[in-house]
């Protein structure tokens, strides 16, 4: 009843977005159509239709409170964890229907890694932070654990810093190192999608740069969706950009497309103003 009403309104809004849909959505790795998210009665994300191609980096930009994080959380079904949160619309990861109530969310979350805004390694040792998810997903042999943990720590450039104190608490590390532990923790399960929720926003520029380089190095291997406030960063690393905006408390997708196009010839006045504002 209420759903219908809102979706009615949404059609008029989404006319902007349909025009900018990626032309070939058949090869899309993640594909959302008319995705809505409610927290209780409050609509947080409105009618998002968006596709992300396999192996590319997609940046989601926009002001605070425009549903960027909500969008990410739909992709690994973290929305399940939020009380009174409802999701409607269509969302697919390859051919897996993410809206189905019967999918194995644990298996899904193994395929889709996530890193949060604030570095949040578990208050355990570095080793345990990485070993816990591995053990959970069936890696029991110590040799294999050791080898996978070393590989992933080398990958995030942390191995030399922590190899002698794997048994020490991850909370004793610096903020940038903690965030790299989190990244390693997400990567250690060899996911096919990586969701990054403003991974650099609470870090100093140096650590931020290291994380950024790391993300770029993953291009092609994983599909990455990164939420960021930092337009310059989006421009540097992303293959495609989606601009979200908040209207009456609900986030919606203004425009999406290849990075070049969004920055050089934005179609929508909001996008243009947003990019201008950040240029000036």
């Amino acid at each position: 009843m209420k759903v219908g009403l809102v979706q009615e309104e949404g059609r008029t809004w989404s006319s902007y977005t349909t025009s900018s849909l990626p032309s070939d959505t058949r090869d899309a790795h993640i594909c959302a159509a008319q995705l809505n998210v409610w927290y209780g009665d409050k609509l947080a994300l409105h009618d998002v239709t968006l596709a992300v191609d396999r192996g590319t980096i997609a940046a989601v930009v926009g002001p605070s409170g425009c549903g960027k994080t909500s969008f990410l959380m739909c992709i690994n079904r973290l929305t399940d964890m939020i009380p009174r949160c409802r999701v409607s619309g269509a969302l697919h990861l390859d051919h897996l229907n993410l809206m189905s109530p019967t999918i194995d969310v644990l298996a899904l979350r193994r395929r889709v890694g996530m890193v949060f805004q604030k570095p949040n390694p578990f208050p355990l040792s570095v080793w345990d932070n990485l070993a816990l998810p591995l053990k959970e997903h069936g890696v029991r042999k110590r040799d294999e654990l050791r080898q996978r943990i070393e590989t992933v720590l080398r990958e995030v450039g942390l191995w030399n810093d922590v190899k002698d104190r794997l048994g020490h608490s991850a909370l004793a590390l610096s903020g940038g190192q903690q965030q790299r532990v989190c990244l390693a923790r997400a990567l250690v399960l060899s996911p096919e999608v990586l969701l990054l929720d403003e991974p650099c926003s609470s870090l100093d520029p140096l650590s931020s740069g290291m994380i950024e380089d790391l993300i770029v190095s993953l291009r092609g291997r994983l599909t990455i969706v990164i939420v960021t406030h930092h337009l310059a960063q989006a421009r540097r690393i992303a293959d495609s950009v989606a601009v979200f905006w908040a209207q009456a408390g609900a986030g919606w997708l203004v425009e999406s497309g290849p990075t070049q196009q969004i920055f050089d010839s934005p179609q929508h006045p909001i996008t243009a103003a947003y990019i201008q504002g950040h240029r000036g």
Partner: protein, 291 residues
Amino acid sequence: MFSINTLSPSRSDYLLATVLRLCAVLSGVVLLLVVVFLVQEAFPALRHVGLVRLFTDDSWHPTEGLYNLLPMLWGTMLVTIGAVSLAAPLAILSAMFCQFYAPVSLARWYRRLIELLAGIPSVVYGFWGLVVLVPMIGNLHPPGPSLLAGMVVLAIMILPTIALLMEASLAAVPQEYLHGALALGLRRWTMIRNIVLPAARSGLFASAVLGVGRALGETMAVLMVCGNVVQIPHSVFAPVRTLTANIALEIAYAFGTHRSALFASGILLLLIVLGIVVVADAVKPRWTYGE
């Protein structure tokens, strides 16, 4: 749409959920039983004697069929009020001391002392009251076992608990307020009076209310020092009997309606505690839980 609980696919999760739920249900049943049994046991008294007579009979003489709980209710209330009004100011001052006046190391020692004292059993406080305080009061104004003795012993007993809770609520005042005040060059007491105490008001009050609950429910200490005479006291030197002491004294030999009336007084205590919790809940600061 879908809820968290239907989604965990792995078998151990189902097992976990089941076992945990079982625990929860069992706890619920046990605690429900407490209320059910009290009511069931109190029911004969409520039927044969009736609610009104529990407060209007001539006196408490269960053997003669007189069941007036009022003197005991007065005893409980007076002892409690006295104890809290003695303990609360000292507790606030203690809390202020730890937070604002004491050097850090001294505050830590003082806190440790208070914590240890919070753990001393009430029967020990009662014993101390009996051998030290009661004779002193007896010298001052016979007989000795009295309302005053009960108030003082209870005050000492609940003081550590209230002081710890109050210190927690003072500590919960956001540091920014204090830094703001210090940046304005306010003096210590000016800052405490104008910023800290108002900000911590509800927490302080809730702590005192919890102290009331603790004092009200205490049995052994008052049993040992209050004299246990069933009467509405005319001075602080008169002996009194509280609801809790009454139960402890008589339950061993009570039967029939008498026993049932004691259960009714148990329910009365439960209702008073209920009222206190409601009050404490209403004034409790909102930072305890919630995200």
